[in-house]
Each structure stands twice: as C-alpha cells, then as structure tokens.
C-alpha cells in the first residue's frame, strides 16, 4: 500500500505538490495522468525516495520511503531519462540491478530479452530511445520488486513494442502481485492495463478513480426527439453533457447503462442507442463536469 499524507513539495517559489493525499492499494496498476509540469515525475521521485517531501508523509507498506534502504529494496523506478546507462551494455545494466536487488531473476531477464531481442554486449549509448526504454523495463521487471514506478515509460516506443511492454508489465503484475504506477500524459497508453487513474493538475489530484467504475458509471446515449431536449427535461439523470448535432441528440450521463437508457426512453425518443465511450471521452466529460478546461489538463 502506497500512502501520501498531506505531502507538499516546492522548488523554490514553485509548488509541485501541495497538501497531497493519495492511497494506492497493493497490486493496483495506477495510471498517473497530467500535463508536463503537473507534478507526475515529482510524485514518482518522492515515491522512490529520490526526493524528500518538504512536508507530509510518504509511506510504502507503512514505512517511510526516504533514505530507507529496506523499503527501497521493494521498489524500482524507471526514469523518463535513460542516458545514465549509456556507458553500460545490457549485460552490465543487468549486473548493476542484480547487485542491488536481491530478487533479481536471470531467468526472467533472459525470457524478456528473447521477446525484445536486444543486443546484450552493445553499449546502450548506441541504442535508440525505444530500445533503451525496453532495456530499462526488462531490467526493472526482472528485479522482481513489489513496486514498479514507470515515468513516461512508453515514450519513444513504436505501437507493437508498446504493446509488448504492456504485456510484460501485465504478466509481471499477475505473477508477482506487483503494484505498478505509470505516469503519462497520454490516456491511451495506460488505458489498457491500469485499473485506477489519477489526474494531477497544478500539484493537486483533481481526479482519482477506479477505471472499471468510471467506465461503468458514465454512458453516452445517442437519440432523436421530436423536439430538441434540454438538460432540464431529464431531472432524474445526472447529465454531464447534452448536445444536438444533425438532428441527433447525444446525452452523456452518469449512472448504470440500463438505468440511463430507461430514463431516456420514458421521454419517447424516435430512437435511442447506447454508444461506447473511450476513456479519453469519459475523462473529458468528467473534467468538464468539474469545471476544468479539458484542453489544459491533457
């Protein structure tokens, strides 16, 4: 269990996190969303014990993280920058992690490298950005830590490799009950394997929800009425958006699918159909409902 309690982090005059609270349960795949500078990397670095919070408490399994080697043995951070490994070969990188992480599995490393097929004796400085990231991820997974933190982990990866990496992470989570926290500014990247997402904005968590609940609790209904309806026509629905386009009315409302459809059908539409929503759409509507300008959030 990861717990942030009233955490504040400032860089001189800039506040990266302010009175921040968050709980991430064990075994969760947590997606951390936000624009550049929202505080995602700061949060991950505090979580990894790289940075010290100016105020508040950050614990993993009940223990403080900062300057605590025993807690750090349980976690591994894959930073958004991999140039520190440029002077190493993949084998040396593996040796480096193996030195410090007692559960490091050679077998897992070999297995994962068979998938990505990276040259083991070539310096990482000669790798492409995507290859470096693959190298970091396979080492990170092979370390078999309880917690894996990935900062912009899918940057620079082509779609097929992105999919492979995601599969590796999902497998690792299934095998080891690993808790994964992934930061990204792209919803699609984390949609496939994260079960909870949080949105950071100006150092604050403005949104933190289970993805299943989120998807099951918001729906888009396309319908057509004789007369263009307004929000007030459906007082029993928690409507996030209602719009008319080419004679069709799109209603986005919170609640279960059946309940929503039923409440709309009561108004006798010419037709009424449930349209699947992408996570991005759900996100946008949720944010708009909270009066945030969606263009500034993602």
């Amino acid at each position: 269990m990861i717990k942030f309690e009233n955490v504040t982090k400032k860089y001189d005059d800039f506040t990266a996190l302010e009175n921040f609270d968050l709980e991430i349960p064990t075994g969760c795949a947590y997606g951390l969303l936000g624009t550049n500078g929202a505080g995602k990397s700061t949060l991950l670095r505090i979580l990894s014990g790289v940075y010290k919070a100016d105020a508040g408490k950050v614990t993993i399994d009940g223990e403080n993280v900062y300057d605590n080697a025993s807690v750090k043995q349980k976690l591994l951070l894959i930073s958004d920058e991999t140039s520190q490994f440029n002077g190493m070969t993949l084998l040396q990188m593996k040796k480096f992690y193996k030195t410090f992480y007692t559960n490091f599995s050679d077998e897992t490393f070999e297995r994962l490298n068979t998938i990505v097929n990276l040259p083991v004796n070539k310096k990482l400085g000669g790798f492409s950005k995507g290859m470096k990231r693959q190298a970091a991820v396979i080492c990170g997974i092979s370390a078999k830590t309880d917690y894996l933190f990935l900062d912009e982990a899918f940057d620079g990866l082509d779609p097929s490799m992105r999919s492979e990496i995601k599969k590796m992470i999902i497998d690792a989570m299934c095998d080891n009950n690993m808790t994964v926290v992934t930061s990204s500014h792209n919803l699609h990247e984390i949609e496939e394997y994260c079960d909870t997402v949080g949105l950071l904005h100006n150092g604050k968590m403005i949104f933190n929800k289970d993805l299943g609940d989120l998807k099951g609790n918001i729906h888009k209904v396309q319908c057509s009425f004789e007369k263009e309806p307004s929000k007030e026509d459906f007082p029993e629905l928690e409507i996030l958006l209602i719009e008319e386009k080419n004679g069709l009315t799109n209603i986005i409302a919170k609640g279960s699918a059946d309940e929503t459809l039923q409440k709309i059908k009561v108004k006798n539409p010419k037709f009424c159909d449930l349209i699947p929503l992408s996570l991005e759409e759900i996100f946008i509507y949720e944010m708009e409902a909270l009066n945030y300008d969606r263009t500034k959030l993602l």
Binding site: Y51, A69, K72, F100
Partner: protein, 689 residues
Amino acid sequence: MTKSNFGKYFRYKLSKSKPSIIFFAILNFLSTTLPCIFLFNLFNYMKTENEGSDCGFIEYTLSSTYSFIKVMVIISIIVIIVTTAKSMKFYHNRTAVDMLGSLPLSYGERFWGDLLSGICVNFISFIPFSIISLIPINGMRSLYKLIPTSDYFLLETIEKSEMIFYYVFILIFVYIGIYAVTTFISSCCGKFGSSVFFSIVAISVIPGIYTIYAKWFFSNVIGADASKEIISNIFMLPPLGPIFSVIMRLENPNVLYTNKYDLSYLKQPICIMVSVLIIAAFIAVAYFIGKKRKAEKTGEEFMFKTVFHILSLTLLVMIIGVIYLNFFEKKGLTGIIKVLLISFLFYIILELSQNKSFKGFWKAVIRFATGFGACIAFLMIVKTTNSFNYYKNLPGENSIKEIRVSGDYFYSETGTLKKREYIYKAKDSVSVILSEHKKLLMSEDISTGNELNITYVTKGGREIVRGYSVKNDGEQIKDFSDEVKKLKEYDPGVIGILSYSDFSGIDAFFDFIKPHNDNISSGYIREDKINKLVELLRYDIENNFFNDNETSKNTIGFLTFFEIRGDKHDNLGAYRILTTYKNTLDFLNDPDNYVNPGDDNSAIYDISYSTNGDEGLLTDISISISEDDMSEYAKELLSYIEVKNSPDEYSPKIWVSGKNSSIVYGVRLENEKAAIKAMLKLFREKYVQ
C-alpha cells in the same frame, strides 16, 4: 531488517574505476618512486666520483628532480580533484540522481561507499609505491654512513633524501586532504565544473591568503624573516600547506649554506594530528551537507550559497592581496582605486557565473565592499602599526624548549662562515635571554638585520626566528651579547681546526681582502708553520671574541684550511682574520711563513677553486700559472681554460682571471672534474711538496 548494501555499492564503484586505478598507479610511481630513484642514482654517481664530480650534472639532476616532483604534485592534485568530482556523479547529474537515488541504499551507505571507494581508487597504488620509494632513500642513508665526506652536493643529496622521505610520508595526507575538500565542495555544488573550480579555490585559498598576507605581516615585524615564518607555519594549513612547506624547504637556497634541514617541526605529531583533524572535519561537513542537500537542486551551480559566498570572498581577499602587494602597494590612493576596479570586475564575474542575472546585484556589491574594505583596512593597519607591534611578542618562558643565539658578537664557526649558534636550554638562561631580548626591543634603533640572530624553539616544535641590526655602532646588541656570554651555558670552546693537535697533511691559504701588506696579497702557508699559525689564531680568538664584532669593516682577510688526499679535497674551515688579531696578523705579514708569497709576475692566469661556487670569500685553492709552465698538470689545466661565451656552460666553481681583465675565462662544465683534479695535483707539486 535488510542487509546493508554498502559492500555491494563499494565493490560496484571500485569495479567501475579500474582505468582510474591504473592511471593513479602511474601517477604515484612518477611522483614518489621515480624521484627517489633519480636521487639514488645521483648519490651512487657522487659516491663513486666524490670530489670533483661533474657539478653541472649534479645541479641539473637535483633541480630537475625537484621540478619534476613539483610538476607531478600539481598534476596529481588536479587529477584527484577531477576524478573525485567526476565520481560524485550523484551530485552533478540529474539522471544519475534518479538511478542512484532510488536504489536500495541509505544516504550513509552511498556517501561512505563513494568516499572510501574514491580513496581506494586514488591511493591503493600509493602505498606500494611509497614503500618502494623508501628503499632507495634508506639505501642512500645506509651507504652514507659508510663514507664520511665533506662533498657539498653529496651532503645536500643525502640530507634532502630525508626531506624526500618526509615528502612521501605526508603526500598521503595531502592527497586525502584534497580528496576530502573536493568531496565537501562537490556536496555543495550541483555542477561538475563548479565542483572542480571551487575545489581548486578551496584547497589553495587558505595557504594562498596566508602566504600573501603573512609575508606582508611579517615584513612589517622588526626582526622577523617573513619567508622563514611562512615556511614554518604554512605546514599547519592542510591540505596543501604541508606539501608547500616541504617543496619550499627543498628549494630554499638558504639551507644549501647551512647544510641543515630542520625537520623537527615537520615531525611533530601535532602537525599530523592537525591534518587528520582537518580532513575529518571536511569529511564530516561533507556528510552533513550532503544529507541536507536536495536532490532536485542537482544541476544548479551552487546549492549552498553561503559556502559560495565564503569561497568567493576568500578568493577576493587573495586576489586583492596579490594585486595590491605586488603591483600597487607604493602607488597610494591611485593604486587602491586600480585594485578596487580590477577586483570588483573579478568579483562580479564570479557572482554572475553563479546567478546568471543581475537579480540581487546590490547584495553582491555590498559583499564586495565589505571584503575590499576589510582587506585594505587590514593592510593599512598592519603597515601603520608595524603589524600590531608584533615584534614585541615573544614566546612565554614556559613554552620555550631552547633558544639559539648567534651573531656578529659571537664567535663564528668554520667552513661556511655560518655564525655559530649557541644553544641555551636551562630555565635561568631562557629567562635572562628573554629579559635581555625585551630590553633590546625597547630600543628605537633596532631594525631587521643579521647582526644578532635569536631563535626560539617552542615545546610544540615551532621556531620563532628574529634577526636584528642596530644603528649607533650596535651598542644594544653588544650589551645583549655581553649578558648572554655571562650565562653558565655559554661555552665558546674550540672547534674546527682550532681543536686539532696534528697538522700533517693540512694546508692553509690566506687571502688579504683589504690592502694591508705591500708584499703579500695572498699565499699558501708553509706546512711546517701551520702549527704555529693555529696556536696564534686560537690565542687571538680566545682573547678577542668578547670584544670583537665580526664584520666586513674589521676583516682583514680570510684564512682557509684544507686537506688534499690524492685527488680529493676537504675544506676544513675558513676564518675571518680581524684587525684585532695582532699575533696572527704579525705571522701573516711575515713573507717567510709563505710557500710563495706575493704575486707571480710571470703568471698569466689566476685560477681559484671554491666548493661553494662563491667567488672571493670562500676560495679553497688558488693557483697562478703561466703559459710556459712546463709541469704536466699545468699544461693539462691550461688546456681546459678558454674564453667564456655562455656562462651556463662553464663551471661555477672554478674562477679564472687573466692578465687582460676585460676577458672573462672559464672551464667548461664537462671539463670541470678533470680540471679540479689537475689543479689539486699541480697544487701539491708546486706549493706543498
């Protein structure tokens, strides 16, 4: 609780540093073992050649060795700073912060892992090479005991080997000290360049400021010898102080004429303890600062601005001292304004390099004004108050181990014309000398000089040296000397040739330096008369030294005793013959006492040989030869004499003057050895046998 990862991190750091270990091994070999091998080879050369060995070669080898040591020390210091700062990646590289900061390592494990692995990388090879270095030094010392010699360079080489021994010993403290300072500065800096630059500033600024300002301070202390004070005290300023001190001693030409290297101060355990404590303090501060430092500040120039301000201000103080005292001291207000402008420009550039903007510029100006004002005020006050009247500051009676007194009113030793030092250790002697010294200081006529030298050696090993001259015929110094001579410990004794009873094989040469006798200007004393001469000299010295002041004013000439064994030559001492030595002078004025008095009118060359290479005063042997001299040795000697073209290529020990005084003659360095041998043989043939 998980097992400490310190060992793993330590091994990881070592395994990453293999090229550095090899590089440092080469450096350590070059800076310790190689100079010792040079000296040992030189010693062997001199041991076999002894007298008359090629002094040009010896001088060249000695000075090259010391220069080489200096260069290697400078290179090693820079390399240590650069590699240490580089190994502190965690402090300078944002990506390394993520990599190392998230590892299962506590701060302490990482800090000590970095520190100890760095020490191992830098110094792992130092230990074997320093041990190897001691083999030739100890070899030299053992061999030296087997061959007593008066060869000046041989003595110098062997005595300096002790200094080299000490150099090797303290080098480890110096290097670890520099390593500690660099660690401290790196923990304050967020960039590699800043770490290197400010580490260099930090290690050099304290000895630098001390040298500049102490030199100024002591130059205003009546009686103090600024350079001696600096050499003694600079050792106490680690990390660079000890190495400065040793190198300054190696190169100090004064010690060449005293054949004495006072290592007692350097050998004091307190000095080593000070070094160790300062190193420990730097490491401790580095540890705590590193713990306080914020990882996110990596990449900024200086994350602890206070340390930056301290360093930049101390650098400013040093720069002001260098510029003002070297270039503008005598230019009054104009000089101060020029120093102000130059130092202001320097300080502002330094500030801008950190802040990259003029934000808070006024604070920098205030800091500069404070630093500049304090420096100039200090310099002015020191000047006007004669360094706060420090000359009156004598060590406490209880802290004095011994007092050494020498001077013109004290009988002088032989050989190198060094003033004989009388050593007083008894409590009552110390008390009397201190009291007399204080009386002397009351006089307004005293100034810094060499007529009376008093050295206090404290129980802590420190030497406080004072040398005075006095106007008005030196009455106050004479009073001081008279009181000191009354002490029980004062023992003029008989030393050098005066203590001999058998004079067989001993020769004497007298040289009038003042017109005194129309018939004799210089000459060799008859061997059978030397006994009588020494007897008269002893009588005159014993009966006159209470009254006599040995100065060039009352010196008639120099009497040199020497001994020639085969082709080897020993100088047994030179004596000033004073106007008051009536019995000796009567003897020396009698032509019958000389082998060949007066000038040889047929001679075309006068050739003098001096072991010290110091023309005139300390001539050991002087010979006159003409071109038609049929002696085999004379012919050989003549063949070496040529007109000097370039002074550097000619022996500094052999002086040749011809009939035509406008032509300068000399003997080439490569012929020096052979010429001295021929000269000694000719001397035996012509004057003694």
